[in-house]
Symmetry: C2
Subunit: 143 residues, 2 copies
């Protein structure tokens, strides 16, 4: 099961990030401007080692956190090192084949492997339960 790199992250340290799409995949952006938010799947390349991929549990970096399996943690050290980030789409730059987004915690040059539109009908959950150590995380897009 081999994933395809469809583009790379362009980051210069500012919050504004560019998803630079490889030219041969740019047609995948048709009508993306209709969406306010996207799901970005990226390859956590700096953690793609045998050792990191063998990690199954660790302690999340939040107050009072207990040792948690990676199904209960967003640790970048996981058997399939896939990053999953919900982002706001700020613009579509046809000149440079780029999508402009508001944030992404990935280094410059990181491979992007998929981009999906955020559909509130299936991706938004209003009534959730999380453990105490994740209750006070800063909210990004909730009222």
């Amino acid at each position: 099961m081999i994933v395809t790199e469809i583009g790379t992250v362009e980051s210069d340290g500012t919050p504004l990030i560019r998803l630079k799409i490889h030219e041969e995949f740019w047609d995948a952006s048709i009508n993306v401007h209709h969406f306010s938010h996207l799901i970005v799947l990226w390859w956590i390349s700096e953690k793609d080692s045998l050792e990191n991929r063998g990690n199954l549990a660790d302690i999340p970096p939040t107050q009072g956190a207990e040792n948690s399996g990676i199904f209960a943690s967003r640790s970048p050290n996981r058997p399939s090192p896939i990053g999953h980030t919900i982002v706001k789409l700020l613009g579509v730059d046809e000149e440079s084949n780029s999508l402009l987004i508001d944030h992404l915690d990935a280094f410059d040059g990181t491979p992007i492997i998929d981009i999906k539109p955020y559909l509130p009908s299936s991706d938004r959950v209003d009534d959730t339960k999380v453990p105490p150590w994740f209750e006070d995380l800063k909210k990004r897009y909730t009222n």
Copy 2:
């Protein structure tokens, strides 16, 4: 960039689905019972062909939909055939190394490649914009 199969989907046609985790990855489930919802990443194996992976745009199966790139569509035909589904966690079966969930639109035996906890702080978006042809989709977890 090679993904790891951490388990497989067990589906007998009823809505209740089991994510059967391979024994060597079961420690990844520590503390997962604290979460109400999960993000399941799975391999769309029946669409993993050169032809399907070369698809960059199609018409979503909703009323009035326009031809849309795969960044603007949840089509299973995409360069990296990764399925992304938000599910409700119904139970953890330690006996059979399985997570019980409420739905997953994948065939029996489909490879699971990652499971992440759903964090409303970063995964929930209250104010979204989608094109008209996605506005009337049935809501799964929103009030």
